[in-house]
Every structure is written in structure tokens, then in C-alpha cells.
């Protein structure tokens, strides 16, 4: 990752940070509290996620937070002392975010 790539990764990190901050807590409450508690019917929820808008929502909610993780974790690991591995880590983490995004697209189209 050359230095000139930095603005792209930083923008994705930043966009992912906003999406995570505003949308992940309520989604966690839906999948982790409301469904197990029986407030939301899991069968109907399974149908709801097939709506085109829900698919877009889920795509954004998977892809951008993955890039947020990749960028922030890269620098956290560097801060924890693995400075020499920065280039390898960048390749690995951004690569994983790209792979995750591809899988999200694949599964959302298959729904």
C-alpha cells in the first residue's frame, strides 16, 4: 500500500465509522435482543431481509464496517509494536475487507 492510496482507505474507514456508529447498535438490538426475546418473529424477519431496501442496508452495514475495522485495526496493531509488518498487515486487512464485501454481495444476490 503506497502512501498515495491512503485517502481511499481513510475515506472507507471514516464512512464505515459513521455507518457503524449510527446503525450497528439498533441492528444488534434487533438480532441479539428483540429476536431471542420473542419481540420480533424470526421467520418474518427472515422474509424482511429479502426486501431490496433491506438488502442494500445489509450490504452497506457489512461492507463499510469491514473497511472501518481493517484500517483501525491496522494502526492499532502498529501501535502495539508491529510497525515492521505494516505493509503486510495493510494488504491482509484491506484484502479481507474486499473478500468480505464480495461475499456479502454474493449472499445478498442469492437470497
Amino acid at each position: 500500500m503506497t502512501r498515495s492510496n491512503e485517502p481511499i482507505w481513510w475515506s472507507l474507514f471514516s464512512a464505515g465509522g459513521v455507518v457503524a456508529a449510527f446503525f450497528i447498535p439498533v441492528t444488534i438490538i434487533l438480532t441479539g435482543v428483540a429476536i431471542p426475546a420473542g419481540l420480533i418473529d424470526v421467520g418474518k424477519f427472515n422474509e424482511l431481509i429479502r426486501h431490496p431496501l433491506a438488502r442494500v442496508y445489509l450490504f452497506v452495514l457489512i461492507s463499510l464496517p469491514l473497511f472501518h475495522w481493517a484500517h483501525r485495526f491496522r494502526y492499532a496493531v502498529v501501535d502495539l509494536g508491529l510497525k515492521g509488518l505494516d505493509r503486510v498487515l495493510a494488504l491482509l486487512f484491506y484484502g479481507l475487507a474486499i473478500v468480505g464485501t464480495s461475499f456479502a454481495l454474493y449472499y445478498l444476490l442469492l437470497l
Binding site: 491512503e6 457503524a20 450497528i24 444488534i28 431471542p36 424470526v42 452495514l61 457489512i62 472501518h68
Partner: protein, 135 residues
């Protein structure tokens, strides 16, 4: 970044930094906690991906969401992601510069507006899902 690569090439003495440097002060510790919230942000994205992968098997989909392990992990993730949300809103409102006529809008007002939007969005999304899939 340029400082780092320059430092690596020079023969100057670089004082070694212990891996536990962030445990020495509360502010350093909270900084590291904030940075590591990304593990839960990314982890939840991964969870959604795995959930989608078996969405076409309704029983597996339901079993995954109703497992006690899933509930525990969700609660831990919720705490960490809430910390991300709060630190993110507080920080970005200081970075954003908004002018109203001659005066710069106070970061506190920008943060307050963000909190209002955050709560409104969360209630709307929960409300829509409850209306469609509520029991």
C-alpha cells in the same frame, strides 16, 4: 507515515516501546479500548455475513439467532459498539466546522444534533422492523 519510514532508514537510536505502554495511563487505555472497538464492529459485520449465508435455511437461521452464545456475544458487542458510537460522535463533532452567520457552531451543539439523529434513526429502524415482523 513519512516519519515512520524515515525513522526506519536512519541509524538514530529509537527508544524501544513496551507493548503494554497503553496500560500506564487512563487516557492511553481508553484510547486503546476505542481503537479496539473496531474488532466488534468488524466482528458484527462478519456475524451478519455468516447469518446471511444460511438465511435460505430458515431453521439454521433461527437457531443461530436464538442460541445463548449469540445473545451473550451480542450484548458484549453492543457495549463496545456503543462506546464506538459515543466516541465517534464526540470526536467528529469537534473536527467538523459549521458556521452560522459569523459564529462557529459549538461542537457541543453538533454532537447534540448527532445524538438526536442517532436516536431518531434507531427508533425508526426498530419501529419499521417491529411493524413488519413484530409478534
Amino acid at each position: 507515515m513519512s516519519n515512520q519510514s524515515a525513522a526506519r532508514k536512519s541509524k538514530e537510536y529509537v527508544r524501544p516501546m513496551p507493548v503494554t505502554w497503553w496500560l500506564n495511563r487512563k487516557t492511553y487505555f481508553l484510547f486503546m479500548v476505542r481503537e479496539l472497538t473496531c474488532l466488534f464492529v468488524g466482528g458484527y459485520a462478519l456475524f451478519l455475513l455468516v447469518l446471511l449465508a444460511q438465511a435460505n435455511d430458515a431453521d439454521a437461521f433461527a437457531a443461530m439467532l436464538n442460541s445463548p452464545l449469540s445473545v451473550v456475544l451480542h450484548l458484549v458487542a453492543l457495549l463496545m459498539v456503543l462506546y464506538h458510537s459515543i466516541t465517534w460522535i464526540n470526536l467528529t463533532s469537534k473536527v467538523m466546522v459549521v458556521w452560522r452567520r459569523e459564529d462557529r457552531v459549538s461542537p457541543k451543539w453538533i454532537a447534540a444534533a448527532n445524538y438526536v439523529v442517532w436516536v431518531a434513526l434507531s427508533l425508526s429502524i426498530f419501529g419499521i422492523c417491529w411493524k413488519i415482523a413484530g409478534t
